[in-house]
Symmetry: C2
């Protein structure tokens, strides 16, 4: 895997100066890294300069050894290139080109023959029919999709373009990426190898996967069982229903895996099976920004009774515990809120609550031995000279002063379009949730992870 994610010498076969061809997009993406620590060679039948770099007519003409060959020529021309790659003794190959097993039986035969050849030569292959891979830690975008910011999330996806869409969502939520891999038809490298690699990767904190089919269930299960004690894995399965499975089989050409079987395996291994793509982002935000809680007792404060009622509904749906306030906590909170406020959880501080109230109450909860997770619910109130981001600032101040030891989940209802909120999130390296459902789901995945870690800790004893 190291040759794929940390190659020193890369060749792009099928590079072109035509911006309307994928061969140009991949070349440009790889060369866009100005501080690159890898050497790039280009191969093209036509002699040309691409982004200032000259081309070779064949990979065999390159006066250097090659770690990684990325192939973008049309399907019928791929096998010949593979033969040159074998002669050249490259270490790894990514076949981006489509037109193989996902199309018809001829394509299946062709890709099987290529797989066999490479196996005999001891060369690993990713693809065909994929968008490529990325390693943001070395600034390598060996794919034709956008380059996300650097971060701690790694992503394996069976659908390239859906993977690209998730990167948009991550970008929008200030979630950076470490490794990205779209494996396409998987004639050789499969989920397991990438998972094993990410398990040891110090820059990967959380792994998310989109998949439609799992060819070797046993390997897959064994890999996720190895990884999950170290890093959470989120799995989204496309083709859960009959309609979806039929769409999936026409998509990747492989038989869609049974959802219930996969879910049982992921659940049993301690992973997180995701139902909706929006939950994907929510769960990633939860793991990327908040510590795992020590218990399940949730304290809620709000300036909007209706919103905390809706949060309570979602909390019960997920079996969350909105705990009763202890007398000690009530006495700490009381001086900071107006007398009208009822001392119950959720604590409704009423529409006039400001930065000070959010700060003091959040701090009281974060310091209380009777609360494990704090949910700071708020409808932004554009009146009484209250600033748009002040409730959020109050919570963050309390969270920073208490060392960020407990999850402090900001629920800023429908505030996802407010630039002030995004700016503060980015500056303070925190994130907010925008619906009661999202906040409850974030609590749920953190508690699920806590329960899993407690269980394996006890099993070890």
């Amino acid at each position: 895997m190291e040759y794929f994610f940390n190659p020193k010498k890369i060749v792009v076969v099928g590079a072109t100066a035509n911006p309307r061809k994928f061969g140009n997009v991949v070349t440009s993406n790889i060369l866009s890294n100005k501080e690159r620590d890898y050497i790039v060679y280009l191969v093209s039948l036509k002699k040309q300069k691409i982004n200032g770099l000259g081309t070779y007519e064949s990979i065999l003409d390159i006066p250097d050894s090659i770690d990684l060959a990325i192939i973008l020529v049309p399907a019928p021309a791929v096998e010949e290139i593979i033969d040159s790659c074998i002669k050249k003794a490259v270490k790894g190959i990514i076949i981006v080109s489509g037109g193989f097993g996902e199309i018809n039986e001829t394509g299946k035969i062709l890709e099987r023959r290529i797989a066999n050849k490479c196996k005999q030569a001891g060369i690993r292959v990713i693809g065909p029919n994929c968008v490529g891979i990325q390693n943001l830690d070395i600034g390598l975008n060996a794919s034709f999709i956008l380059t996300p910011p650097k971060g701690k999330v790694s992503f394996i996806t069976q659908s390239g373009s859906f993977g690209a869409a998730v990167l948009y969502a991550m970008n929008n939520e200030h979630l950076g990426c470490s490794k990205f891999a779209n494996l396409g038809n998987m004639i050789d490298v499969s989920y397991s190898e990438v998972l094993d690699y990410l398990n040891k990767d110090p820059n990967t904190d959380v792994i998310c996967m989109y998949l439609e089919s799992v060819a070797d269930g046993r390997d897959f299960f064994s890999s996720i069982k190895q990884v999950i004690p170290n890093k959470p894995i989120l799995v989204l399965k496309g083709g859960r229903t009959v309609t979806g499975m039929s769409a999936a089989s026409s998509h990747t050409g492989s038989l869609s895996t049974n959802y219930q079987l996969l879910k049982s395996a992921v659940d049993q291994a301690g992973g997180h099976m995701i139902e909706y793509i929006a939950d994907y982002t929510t769960a990633l935000k939860a793991f990327a920004y908040f510590p795992i809680p020590q218990g399940n007792r949730i304290g809620v404060m709000t300036n909007s009774g209706g919103s905390s009622v809706l949060f309570s509904d979602q909390a019960e749906r997920f079996g969350l515990n909105i705990t009763e306030f202890s007398d000690e906590l009530i006495e700490r909170i009381r001086p900071h809120v107006i007398p009208l406020v009822k001392m119950v959880n959720p604590l409704d501080m009423i529409a006039g609550a400001r930065e000070e109230q959010y700060y003091h109450v959040a701090k009281a909860m974060l310091e209380s031995k009777d609360i494990d997770i704090v949910v700071g619910c708020c409808v932004i109130t554009p009146f009484l000279e209250i600033q748009w981001d002040e409730h959020y600032r109050g919570m963050i101040r309390a969270w920073n002063e208490t060392g960020r030891k407990k999850p402090m989940i900001p629920l800023l209802v429908f505030a996802d379009s407010f630039p002030q909120i995004h700016a503060l999130s980015e500056k303070e390296k925190i994130t907010a949730f925008y619906t009661p459902y999202q906040a409850a789901y974030a609590c749920k995945v953190l508690i699920d992870r806590m329960n899993y870690l407690k269980k394996i800790h006890e099993d070890k004893k």
Copy 2:
């Protein structure tokens, strides 16, 4: 109701120049309408100028009759003001002030006494403990929350601040508002009167409600049964679960209504019961922007196989019908897509699909007698010189040319943060959905509405 939503002469009692008081916010909001066709009087114990307007010491000093009195003085002072209002023979009263039945038994007794006095005098009352009302059609914001853009959605909410949050979401989705009413403790005016008013209101196309408790279920049920044949009603209930109900009772002081009973009533009347606040926006967008379909056969096109697989999963969850393409439709589509494309529904036009493909295929589906709803699924592809909004432009062009007769649901996966997309939505007066779930849910509510209208049409025969 006309005196509330179309008053000619308004008095604000408890007006103040202090921007940190609600009495100032409401006054400023009412006066912010420069083209107002209503006269505003201000009452304050302290003589002062507020936004250039002088004040009276008592409502009785005003040398004019009054349609609507808005009261913002502290709870203990409210009853005296009510007495003056009765003497003055105002037509309607909104009590914004809190500190009544939602606080304790004394507050309950006080608000009941006020209700009785007004009833005897023949004066209708909204509140107490509310943020106020708005009628955007005459530019009247008689509340302390923000002024949304004008539109065709009307909104009744039991929670003021949650109502404010929904206006943020609507704003962000280019959904304008006609009437907004937060009824607070409802000592007099209740849902039914407002619903009956909105039923006759030509500027209201769709009604959404947030409620925690329904005091008079029979009136409520009878009202929604009257309205729903003319306009769809979306109902979100706070306090569905035990946890939520307990939070709700501490919020508005009223016993939360049983969710199942309410849901049965709303379902039976043909309304839409909403489970998540995000669905609220989705359903509003569906009704505000798209026609009711004539049938349930959905045609899907995509440039991202994975995304249409995920849409298919959500579609099956809602029992939607992704129909088989007819031979006729296939022959119309075939010339416009590359040969690799398989002629099945969802139609995967592969990552290189551009404006032309989206236009021709959408048009073929919109003109086909075998398709009732078109879902234009797309992951925005920032390569091959494809423009960010061109897939969307293609769909819209086809929709416009076919007279917008069928729902054409754009599913632009995770593109909600792209300004180009929002700009195009606004310019073309259309809206997009950003997850497969949202798009499927939009189809579902439109089909539900179609089935309801067909049923009452048949019942009439």
